[in-house]
Symmetry: C2
Subunit: 413 residues, 2 copies
């Protein structure tokens, strides 16, 4: 492959995670060791910031004696340090001027390498941009670096960011189960977990089953049609076994007609102004159990911490996220284009992975859901195989830097 010299630009897009900055650090580290690369730019707030020429000279920020230390701190910092955006690129035929602007800026800044760290929409950006530049003969290498806590990207064994979220969820659910166990009064606790279309994060609530024995009584995924009747039977049967019932539910639970559980209760939930609103799945089921059984019930929404609890990130995930970024950079310099770096799991007994560029076409705009063999027959729990797939991804604790009792974080000025 011929040598392409010029500058590089890196962006982060979509929802933040605990590991997206580790991938950024990996790309920077690897690029900074390549002769082909001049300056390394970071775009503020993804492609939107790039179009406004809001660029950070990353080569300058990460130079000098403390570069390694800064990259380490960046790797342990939650949320997209460069900022993010949610922008779906237009089709080139619909808005050619959008792409002409981009190319003009690429030329202005001599950008020959474009890295985009993100999920589904970001891979769509990589696909459209690489197609347009190839058709229009602008020589550039466009690479996607996967990122999403939802683990629902196709073409990769798992996604960077997922392991840390899974570790946070498994740790927190185990703590909640212990907390709920202290009283003898019958009580039901419903934990609502992120993942509207794919139940991977909800699966991870069960990891304690393989380790400590503490896992939710039932786990409901969006991959199965949800029935309030079956749910009620499950709760009653759990209450017969022990007083402290804990149940994990995906935010995306839908009935057989595709109606969200929160939506189903919408008819009756209204705010002080008389507006109806969509209550969360957990809250809706809390009210349902309270009505039907009458015991103590509460719902817990794990909420934003699922994607930003860096203080309990998975060392495996952070290391892999760094390495997948570094691999993307070196593959690009070696000639890769129009691809996403994917993670392939070795078939060996010990957990091991390698990083492989995958053609970007067919990756964007598809969702990888939890397969049938990971869900039990009754559709109210997960199989051991599902947990064994996730368990290696949460292994290891990150060596955080603490200051006065709080984790230190990296911030671009």
């Amino acid at each position: 492959m011929y040598k392409l010299t010029g500058n590089a630009v890196i962006g982060q897009s979509g929802g933040p995670t605990c590991a997206i900055n580790a991938s950024l650090a990996g790309v920077i580290k690897s690029l900074s060791e390549c002769d082909e690369i001049g300056k390394i730019y970071g775009m503020r707030n993804g492609i939107e910031g790039f179009l406004k020429e809001q660029l950070i000279d990353l080569s300058a920020v990460f130079s000098g004696d403390d570069a390694e230390e800064k990259l380490k701190l960046l790797s342990h910092t939650p949320a997209s340090a460069l900022g993010s955006c949610r922008k779906k690129l237009p089709k080139p035929a619909d808005d050619p001027s959008f792409y002409e602007n981009l190319i003009a800026l690429f030329k202005k800044y001599d950008v020959r390498y474009f890295f985009y760290i993100g999920g589904n929409d970001s891979m769509d950006t990589v696909a459209k941009l690489s197609e347009y530049t190839e058709l229009n003969d602008y020589d550039i290498r466009v690479i996607g670096v996967p990122k999403t806590i939802d683990n629902d990207l196709c073409g990769t064994d798992h996604t960077p960011g997922f392991g840390s979220s899974a570790k946070y969820i498994a740790t927190t659910v185990q703590e909640i189960i212990r907390d709920c166990a202290v009283y003898t009064v019958p009580a039901v606790t419903i934990v609502e977990i992120m993942g509207r279309d794919a139940g991977w994060l909800t699966v991870s609530s069960g990891l304690g089953r393989l380790v400590s024995g503490f896992a939710p009584d039932y786990i409901y995924l969006p991959e199965r049609a949800f029935s309030l009747d079956s749910f009620l039977e499950d709760v009653k049967s759990a209450l017969e076994r022990h007083p402290n019932v804990v149940i994990a539910v995906s935010e995306g639970l839908r009935d057989k007609n595709g109606v969200y559980v929160g939506e189903g209760t919408q008819s009756g939930v209204a705010d002080v102004f008389g507006h109806k609103y969509l209550s969360g799945t957990g809250k809706a089921l809390e009210l349902f159990v309270k009505e039907k059984i009458g015991c103590k019930v509460r719902s817990v929404e794990l909420n934003i911490s699922q994607r930003c609890a860096s203080h309990v990130a998975s060392a495996t995930d952070i290391t892999e996220s760094f390495n997948v970024g570094a691999a993307a950079a070196s593959c690009a310099v070696e000639g890769a284009n129009a691809c996403m770096m994917s993670i392939e799991r070795d078939d060996s007994a010990e957990y091991a992975v390698k990083f492989v560029p995958k053609d970007i076409s067919g990756i964007a705009n598809a969702v990888r859901t939890v397969p049938d063999e990971f869900i039990n027959e009754a559709g109210n729990n997960v199989t051991d195989a599902a947990l064994e797939y996730i368990l290696p991804l949460i292994k290891g604790e990150v060596d955080l830097k603490w200051k006065c009792g709080l984790p230190e974080i990296f911030v671009f000025n």
Copy 2:
């Protein structure tokens, strides 16, 4: 003081915390080194379990070569390992048979030392029990060991358990602030924090201000009457300064008439069955901001993790909680009775504490709220003095034992 020999019994009561087991471990450790003590019993589910003679022989559990290791694991385990109860003791005059039963059991098991680890109601138990046994000439030493995440017990500089909850809250709020900062679209995030009558935990959401500079824009405590109008002005003014507004609110916010914010919106919130229900403070304010400003709004309830997130416990808190338990045991053996072990802060520049037994009368049934000098004049934030008081309590990280990516926990069989 004369030597009292016999057995000891330890109970845990009230809501669980991250540190209540460290205090249990401290009592066990200290008692096991005293010649005066025969057996050490643990009561399952507090005084309720004791009355049913549900006892664990702690001397047997924590004997042998691995006793130290087990005590360490216990110290790092969230929630009351012995189980808990919520039982307010009757007045002796109202129900003398209740106390006669207790004394009969004390005699049966030769109990001469009674330790109760808990909050306000538990100190009430200590007060009533010590008064009754003294009046009825049963020779026993009854000692309270403080515990509450709410930090609202009188007679102590702070309460064991508070530091770990404060560390969890400060860490999580800092992560949420970083997460919210990634987009450029104006958005308001409202974080609801525990503490119905005392705002100590909500204060701790601001700790980042002294360390990283990242703290909520506004902090509202239950110690000040809450005004929706002033709140709306605050939110608008914050949105003029920057797009990512984060606000911390106590679950116990009330207006000048004492009406809870969640209660104020109750009129309009009903479930699918038509029942009105009390929405949380955060959710009520979320709907209010959405109506009045119309920008993106969300609310986050930190929920149970505030009292059980042992994975991010404060080493200072866990060590102090262990030591306060150990001090309670040695003070009792030396003759202390009818008291609560309290934490006194030295006036020296470096943070240091000592443990002092305080007469139990006057401690129970009183609440220590956040003082005026810790709240700003406008009543919408906290002073640096408030943060400086809390900061030493969150210092240090616990050396947890991890197994397959999850924290190990101690469980009584």
